[in-house]
């Protein structure tokens, strides 16, 4: 089970869960007064089998396939996508060295292990059993992946080292946070309801990973379920906003290269501290519909004041059913209040016993 107890709020999760398979009752054979659910949302073996078949079907459907076009001639990427290309980790386990790809059997075994671990719940530590809300990734069409890591560059599949400047900067930020102690600004952007899922870019994984792409002449719009973040991407070649205008979601500009949407995003605010990056971060994303139900998603991040080299990922996002629901997160964010109260109590207990409490932080 991943550590996800910091996700905001039962209220939000319940609303979101309507969008997922587990909430869709199939009334055939249902005894009166009960609901039965799609097996792939309740039974890990059924889900693993379906995911394996879906991955193979997607690969077959991608052969000799050309994406549709909008009436005005752009490649048509519109639809709803699950921002979770499998349980493939961002970084390759060190034990795998330079092995970039699994065999099909190895990929399925790794997927099976990941699904079963995710579905396992230890009642002594769990806050929510996410699968009861239909929020485990295996309940929503995620598939096995031959890649051993999402990162494909550097070739070892791991994040490049931080620059000395970045190490110093991040240590100072952490020291300041420890000295200040926990308050509502301690947790990440997601718990504070400032941005969802920490991006852009999208790091596949996590909860509330549904998203929508919508196109009109001259624009692509990306709407995320998480926090309802919306990115408006003009395609008309206009210049970026001046460097003095920084934003949480950056400033995106797009164009098509063949059937690939290329999105270049700059003007990020340093306040978001995304994986330690600064306002110098430069992001290039590539979105390609490679099959009727599969969006290939690649990105390259460059920030010379943070990483010693650029790094890139390659992943696939499966299509899912509509829609995207309202994600009113900051509105009455009781979860944030409860988190801060609880953490301050733990800090006081630690101080009384002579220990130093490390403020709990989100894993993102």
């Amino acid at each position: 089970m991943r550590h996800r107890a910091l996700g905001p709020l039962g209220v939000v999760t319940l609303v979101v869960a309507f969008g997922l398979k587990a909430a869709v009752a199939l009334d055939a054979q249902a005894p009166s007064g009960t609901k039965t659910f799609d097996e792939t949302a309740t039974n890990t073996s059924a889900a693993i089998k379906a995911a394996d078949e879906a991955a193979k079907a997607a690969a077959a459907a991608s052969k000799n396939w050309a994406p549709p076009r909008t009436p005005w001639g752009d490649p048509d990427l519109q639809g709803y996508y699950f921002n979770h290309g499998g349980y493939t980790p961002l970084e390759r386990p060190a034990a795998l060295g330079d092995k970039a790809y699994y065999t099909e059997e190895e990929a399925l075994a790794a997927f099976k292990k990941a699904v079963e671990t995710d579905a396992e719940v230890d009642p002594r530590v769990v806050h929510y059993d996410w699968k009861e809300y239909g929020m485990d990734a295996w309940q929503s069409g995620t598939r096995p992946n031959l890649q051993t890591s999402l990162i494909v560059d550097p070739p070892n599949g791991r994040l490049p080292p931080l620059t000395p400047e970045a190490q110093k900067r991040l240590a100072a930020v952490a020291a300041a946070a420890r000295a200040r102690g926990a308050d509502v600004t301690t947790p990440g952007m997601y718990t504070r309801c400032i941005t969802g899922n920490g991006g852009p870019p999208r790091i596949p994984g996590g909860v509330t990973a549904e998203s929508q792409i919508l196109q009109t002449p001259g624009y692509v719009v990306m709407l995320s379920q998480s926090n309802n973040d919306v990115r408006i991407i003009p395609l008309d070649g206009r210049p970026h906003l001046p460097k003095t205008v920084n934003q949480w979601l950056g400033d995106a500009r797009g164009h098509f290269e063949g059937t690939t949407l290329v999105v270049e995003t700059t003007n990020f605010t340093a306040d978001r501290n995304w994986r330690g990056s600064t306002d110098a971060m430069h992001l290039v994303e590539r979105y390609t519909l490679v099959g009727p139900n599969t969006l290939r998603y690649q990105f390259t991040v460059t920030d010379p004041s943070t990483w010693t080299a650029p790094w890139s990922i390659d992943s696939v996002l499966p299509k899912i059913d509509p829609p995207i629901y309202e994600f009113a997160c900051h509105e009455q964010n009781y979860g944030l209040i409860n988190w801060a109260v609880g953490t301050q109590i733990r800090e006081k207990e630690a101080a009384a016993s002579g220990q130093t409490a490390e403020p709990a932080r989100e894993e993102r």
Partner: protein
Amino acid sequence: MHCPLKSATASAAVAMVGLWLAVVPTAGQAPPGGRFPPYTPLRTVDGKPDLNGIWQSFTTANWDILAHAAQPGPHPEIMGAWGAAPGGQSIVEGNEIPYQPWAAAKQKENFEKRMVVKVTNDPHRYDTGEPELQCYRPGVPRANYMPFPFQIFQTPEQILIVYEFKGAVRTIYMNSKEEAPSDTWMGWSKGRWEGDTLVVDVTGFDGHTWFDRAGNFHSEALHVVERYTPVSPYHLQYEATIEDPKVFTRPWKMSFPIYRRVEPNAQLVEFNCVPFVEEMMYTPLGLYKPRGK
């Protein structure tokens, strides 16, 4: 055809530039009575009026949807003219909101306590204070008359509106029969075309939003029917019928024009106000520590 120029001073101009004036008002001269000459809107690829673009209304209704004089802000000792509210005219038909007696009293109480922000962690109690002050989603129709632009993305099946304020979004499902799956801040919008007018039926509200900073409010029974009519390449005429049998004695209407933002490379600039309100909302709970301490 209605001619916008009938005054004696304008007749010389009519003679000089001829027919062009029959359809386009001269710069600096509003069409009489706010009416525009007949206009056939540009079309989208599916033949519907094209509402795509960045739009903004220019009223003072966000302070008060009824007619109001200018007034000092709540903290003139530090905010001076910055905090003051401009005077303005009513967007409400007849300048009257038909409140039930209890609701008229509640509106006054809302106004008195608009800055008493009390955030609790008790889900059975509503938080107090003006929702905009706390960076909450503004709801409908208010989102359309806040002093921020919004952008319309129109497809045959759905129309997405992105509001600069808080980045609030709403999807209008076209010709949909689906009912609201749960209550929300921005409501559940179903659209259809009546001639060249986009008609949007909005339900499924949660009752937490207000119409303005003056405390005008509604309940979760709110039902809004909006009408967006293109009246020139640069203007939409907006009308909303407001119905809420728990709060009002009858349905009532508001209307105002919405203007196209025509600056080169116009775009929405983020207004993510969540970090702007954390200090105000959580300091009283001891959960916000001033920076630098």
